[in-house]
Amino acid sequence: MRAGSGVRVTGKASGRGRWRLAAVTSAVALAGLLGLSIQPVQAADPVKVGILHSLSGTMAISEAPIKEVVLMAIDEINAAGGVLGRKVEPVIEDPASDWPLFAEKAKKLLQEDKVATVFGCWTSVSRKSVLPVFEQNNGLLFYPVQYEGEECSKNVIYTGATINQQATPAVDYLMSSEGGNKKRFYLIGTDYVYPRTTNKILRLYLQKKGVKEADIQEEYTPFHHQDYQTIVGKIKSFCAGGDVAVINTINGDSNVPFFKELANQGVTADSCPSISFSFAEVELQTLDVKPLAGHLASWNYYMSLKTPQNIKWIKSYKEWCAKHNIADKQCVTDDPMMHAYIHVHLWAKAVEKAGSTDVDKVLKALEGLEVDSPVGKYKVDEKNHHTWKPVYIGKIKADGQFDIVTKTNQWVAPEPWSDLTYPGRACDWSGDGKGSFDMVDGKRAWLSDKK
């Protein structure tokens, strides 16, 4: 597709693989001859990495931009000489928002293409679908999206936020004087694992902070739900009592009717603000933002952050968009994109450190590894395969960007197992660690041993 970057999209396995490989290497060689790359072309085979994001179907809106930043990061790495003196060659698969297809494509990437690592997945269900494939084949997956936790695979590096890096800081903010001293909460979400788990933990968290049972309402709607009349009516009555915030984990297109109904029934961000965890700048570009303005969101990154690194990153992404015919309106960056971008660099840095692309050696090298990101340094936890990061609360502006209202003073440590639902449970893959464990009589009881 793009000779300069040596990218190819694989379709069905064909007998012409060798020809294609030859074509790619000659394209790379040609690029070298033309002076597009300063580094001498290596005779060594390129290192293949997989990209497993939906480029069609319902998730394409969110996942397609992620593919772009991953390619951009690979380009940057290749421009700087690749890893271990070898080029990095992306193999793109499109699982088409079809969860079982994720597993098939992952199997293909690991077994046929023998990729060194995979950058991929968005929804929790797609991650759960590929998890056994990565564990059986000892592959490596970098997962860029915030999720519900309660998972800690040896074969996955989770760069997105855990619940304590997004949801609980949001509650802290709402309960602070800055956030309006909220004392009553309406939890509304789509009916699947992420909102259910998040709300289970949030309910316990709120109760720990002294919120009464009667002051927490919980409600779920199915995917693609359109009719929020009754629910908004209920929220409105609940809000009339004062000190209420809505915690929104509705996913995807249902947010449109929900926020339209809120605005039409006169529930404003001033009287009854909502905070959302599932839509960022990319999704906002395609929505009618006016009814949402003033409501809040919690993320680890915003495009509007004014750090020198972020300004530079946005500039290079804008150039990338111009080169690849992406409309300027759609050329925005957001939290999962930022995580997807830095995890490519994390992997490259770990490969250099390990001196090998072997999964076990790379995983070892990743422990405690730090990398520069658009929001400053990022760090992989020494033990649990998650990352340390700052948390920002932002207010949605009418142009689909965020006004940052607060940030945590320092990195928030990742907690894949919440202390509220699983007291004492943690995860350790360092040394001879075997993943998640409970503390029993002061000793670690590994979950994997129980099975």
């Binding site: 319902t58 809106i61 709607t221 009339a240 009592g241």
Partner: protein, 543 residues
Amino acid sequence: MWTTCLVLLFSWLAAGALGVRHTDAAVPHALVMDLATPAKQREALMQLRDLPDPALGGVLQALKEGALYLWQEETLLILNDAGTLIDLDNKPLLDSAGQPLMPTERLEQVELAQAHMPLVQRALEALELLASEPAKRKAIALRWGNLQDVTLIPTLEKAQAQEIELAVKAVMAETVQKLRLLDPSPQTRQQAIAFFGATRAESALSRLKDLREKEQDPQVHAAITQAVQRIEGYLQMRNAVAYLFNGLSLASILLIMSLGLAITFGLMGIINMAHGEMLMLGSYTAYVVQEFFATHFSGHADTYFLIALPLSLLDVGGVGLLLERALLRFLYGRPLESLLVTWGIGLVLQQGARLYFGDQTSVNSPTWLRGGWEMMPGLILPYSRLFIIGLSLVCLVVIYWLLYRSNTGLKLRAVMQNRDMASCMGISARKVDTLTFALGTALAGLAGCALSLIGTVDPEVGKTYIVDSFMVVVLGGVGKLLGTVLASFGVGMSNKILEPAIGGTAAAVYAKVGILVLVILFLQLKPTGLFPAKERLSAGTVR
């Protein structure tokens, strides 16, 4: 009138001035110095809260953000967004050469004690309460109502006295009364309680219930109980009205989305699985017209909907015409094939929309359809829903007239009841078929356009409509317009009564399940729906 405008203009200017931290009014230097003295800070802040001074907005904001500095222990300076120090009269601090000066010594940040933070917040809010746009004033009045701090009453009363917006004034009055509920004197409390009993304000309900538990005075206790009863009585009545409206709104949505199907499936007997996609095309028409107006006539963006509505009727009707001419007319009398073909067409249209428009496009309601009509306190009927109720009624009347009162309708019904006989009478059955199908799809297009006001516009949106549409038509009795009307009314109402009745965390889902169970039971008893077509007549409709 002019004075009102002037006051508004002035308050607007003052609000703008606060934002950029500069003001022309004189600054009371003594009071400002107190702010910078730890021992006097609290006193000064309280004074500012009770007697808001617009000239000090910038200083307070700077104090809150840690941008207020004391230089040489006598001059207060503010560090502005550009990074230069300015004095309280907004003049930059300059050195002898006339360049901005940034002293490195004897420049100290004015500390704000953590305990004083809420006071600064209140003082800033007090300023906004007096001079900013009405929505802000209302929001602050609402917020203060929940603070349970009686010392705020004097400031609020002052603001209330000079308030010009009636709606904001009412909120301020309510807030004052809410705070008076905490007054030590039983008389004052009783007065406040009586106020809420009279206004039946929902916002005071939880506060009153809390108070009831703590109240010692038996007289006041009785007053609270009475007020709570009054408010709850009002709420029950209001909720009943709300349920009724919700049911009516859902019924109108169901009606408008199944009217087209009532014609294509009900009258013609074509199982049109692409009906949902016809709705989707209508929604996309609204989207395309909106985008066109946004780029070419951005000044008249609000009128796009008036163009989109008739256009959706025409272009989706055109698609229907094309479909019937090109495909469906070959499949009359073969219901299974036409089912599969229309299903396939639906899939093609879905993927086509996805390729061309992408996922998640959204239609912005025109401003005159945003917001709603406050029918009674706490109950707002959204204009968009009222519009859809109106539109579905208009459609119904037009269709009724067309089918049962016009010459075309007579021919149409003649063809549907007995096509051979109708042909013998000189009616062109082919032409009637085509036009009827086009009419059905055109109605679907119109419905899609209208529903984009409250729902999403995406390639799969048809899926959410098709099941409900078929349910309504089948329940009503295939071929009967009155049946479709009654079925949508019944389903809409029972759904909206079931939903709050079920409660729990997934009421919306269970209400839907409940409705489907009811429909199944009903169809067990009356398999041909509410208004079954008569046997002898239906013999002609099966082709």
